[in-house]
Structure formats: structure tokens, C-alpha cells
Point group: C2
Chain length 219, copies 2
């Protein structure tokens, strides 16, 4: 059974993506951003702010409309322009990772700001799991994993946990306050507000499921 | 066909709920909060901050664990304690409104902070539409309406629009850049990133659908 540890300031992956939402403020995603610069793929909407902080990503990807002309010239060599409008910037970055054989990925800055973008970016995790093996999305409030097989999650007693199923599928859990036994979550609110009863919990599922754990020390 | 105007600083409804997410910062929800104090139902998690600003709601509702002891004593007469944990605070407030024959409702402060709460609060709109006739959720970035019949929306050319279907249902649209013709939206990301082509757009649907319009002047 795959084991998902909780992210720490030392977490790393084969690639880290910085998306266009709220720039990381929580100490954990902030530390991960800083020490993973050399494997950082930055969506172009987030690039100005990143570059202002003297953080240089490996690649800047997107239609680059929002990147200042000064930065477009200065960082020409690390910019990949993809003008097409059918996929959002995060998907362009994830596809770039896939094409570069990345199999483990941390996504930062993907929530906050416009709520429709937040929902899209979170739900897209269920699509990305078909092309990237291990994905962790870390925000200022908590973190998401996406699984499609039985999995075990490192946790803390009392930690808030929410499950989001993008399509009906039988889910079973152990060590959660409100257990599921071969149940479907038909609506987005149904799997929220659960709680871990131990230092780990297990989920049995055979179809994509998004698992959220709130930080125990939020901002 | 029901017509949904865009919210303005003057918008009102039979009741206004302030939930536990980000306290309103955008001028429109901020103004609505201020001039609707007399019909304001405040979730207890948001009450301390509201009361600090000398804004006195009609009712404070919730388990009241997070309300300071000082405020619990001072505002005893407007507090309704509901300790049960099976529904979230927003749902407790909406049920209070329903029990008081409210048929039009504005919800503020329901997004931001924890992403699982944001998703739950937005998706619950599809549940609330069975008990409250007209619901508008206004955030710092845009606003949500929830419909279950053919409807027309006031808009601005180029305004970003996203549609969220909580269960498969045939949707048709007019005046949107990426039109739908009796199509289902099976995944949460599928209806995002659309755009209005006119000063209004229409949606044909017969099952709950959540409609998001981004503010043209976001924060």
C-alpha cells in the first residue's frame, strides 16, 4: 500500500510547480519553494512575483501575456510560450513535467484568488494522476494528495481530513472519525469535515480520489 | 425566465449571512455587509471580527466555541447556540433563514481560508436552492448564483464565467464564448474559464447548477 507522508519544510519531488494563485505564505510551502528552485516550473502568471523575490525558476511556462516585457527579455532562455487557450496554465506546466518524465510532483500556489480557478486546479488533480504517479498540492491551509489505489496517509490525531470524489466510486476508510464502508461520495460536501483518529489513516479506493489534510498549525 | 442582476454596493435580500471564511475586503461585499446589518445572520466563527468592527448582527449562530467569553456574555440575547456537529455553520445559518421564511439570501465570507471549507460551502448552494428561492454568494473575487430552471444573467462583455454542475444534467447556453448545447459537465473543471459575449447570457437547465461570474474589477 502506498504511504503518503505529510509534507515538511524539507519535502522535495522530481519537479515543483508554482501556479497563479496565492503566493505561498505558510512556512512549509515557502521553504519548499525556496529549496527546490532548480526544479521549479513556474506558471507565467506567478513569475513576476517570483522573480521580484530573486527566485529564478528552471522554466517559466504559459501564454506569457502577464509577464512584464522586461522579464520576457531578461529570462528569454527559460521561457516556454504556449499560447493555446484550451488548457489552463497549471495543466500546461503539468504536461511539460510529464513530457520530461517527471513521476513525482509538488504543486504550490494553486488556490486562493478566484474561486473558480481554485476548484478547477483542485479537481484537475484527478486528471493528472493518470500521467504523474505521485502528486502533492500544498497550500497555506493544508495539502492535497490524489490517489487511485488503496493508500495510507501519515497524520496527526485530530487532524481535519476531507475527501473529494470526482466520480462515484466505492470508498472505505480506517482511522477516520466518520468511517466509510464501500460508500460513494455523490456530492462535494459529503466527504468534508472528517477527522483523523491516529498517526495514520487508510483509504481503500480503485478510482481517483482527492484527499485533503488541513495543516495542524495553519497561518 | 428569472433574471439575475450582478450584485452592486446597494444589493440587498431578505437576509444576509456572514460565514467563517475570509472577511469581505472587496468594496461590493463590504458595502452590502455594512448596510444590511439589521438582517445579518452571523456564523459564530466570524462574529469576533465583526463585533470588533462595531457591526452588530441580528443573530449569531453556531456552536459558539470560537466566540470569546466576553462577547458570549455581552451579546447573549442575539446568540443561538446549536451544538450539533453534523452540519457546518453555514448550513445552520441557512436553516435558520429557511425557518424564518426567508426566500432571498446573500451569503458573504464563505470562501478563502481552508480550501475544503470553500468547496463545501460552494457546493452546498446546490442543496440550499431546494429551500431558499434566490441565493447569491459574493466573495472578494466574484459571485455565485445557483439555479434549477432556465435563467438569464446580467453580465459584461468579456466577463469570466464558470459553471459547476453537481450532478450530470443537460445544459444549454447562449451568449457564452464556449457554448453548451444539451451537454453534461461531468467534471468540476469542465465548465470553467468560459466568457460572456454580451450584457447578458442565458442558461437552460432543469437541475441545480452553480454559476460563477468573476468581478470585472477584482481586488
Amino acid at each position: 500500500m502506498k504511504y503518503y507522508p505529510m509534507p515538511t519544510s524539507q519535502s522535495t519531488a522530481q519537479a515543483v510547480i508554482l501556479a497563479n494563485g496565492d503566493f505561498p505564505s505558510h512556512p512549509i510551502p515557502k521553504a519548499i519553494l525556496h529549496h527546490n528552485q532548480k526544479k521549479l516550473v513556474c506558471c507565467d502568471g506567478a513569475a513576476n512575483h517570483l522573480l521580484d523575490q530573486m527566485l529564478i525558476p528552471q522554466i517559466i511556462i504559459g501564454d506569457c501575456d502577464s509577464l512584464s516585457l522586461e522579464n520576457q527579455i531578461k529570462y528569454e532562455k527559460i521561457i516556454i510560450k504556449i499560447p493555446e487557450q484550451n488548457t489552463n496554465d497549471l495543466t500546461k506546466a503539468v504536461n511539460y513535467c510529464k513530457n520530461n518524465a517527471v513521476s513525482s510532483l509538488i504543486i504550490l500556489g494553486a488556490t486562493g484568488k478566484r474561486e473558480d480557478h481554485t476548484i478547477a486546479n483542485i479537481s484537475l488533480l484527478a486528471k493528472y494522476i493518470s500521467i504523474i504517479e505521485i502528486i502533492t498540492m500544498i497550500t497555506d491551509h493544508g495539502f492535497f494528495h490524489v490517489i487511485q489505489h488503496p493508500s495510507q496517509f501519515q497524520s496527526i490525531i485530530g487532524q481535519q481530513v476531507s475527501l473529494f470524489s470526482v466520480q462515484p466510486t466505492a470508498i472505505s476508510t480506517t482511522n477516520l472519525k466518520y468511517p466509510l464502508d464501500q460508500q460513494n461520495l455523490l456530492y462535494w460536501w459529503q466527504g468534508t469535515l472528517n477527522e483523523s483518529l491516529s498517526d495514520h489513516f487508510d483509504i481503500q479506493v480503485n478510482s481517483p480520489l482527492i484527499v485533503y489534510q488541513a495543516f495542524v498549525n495553519p497561518l
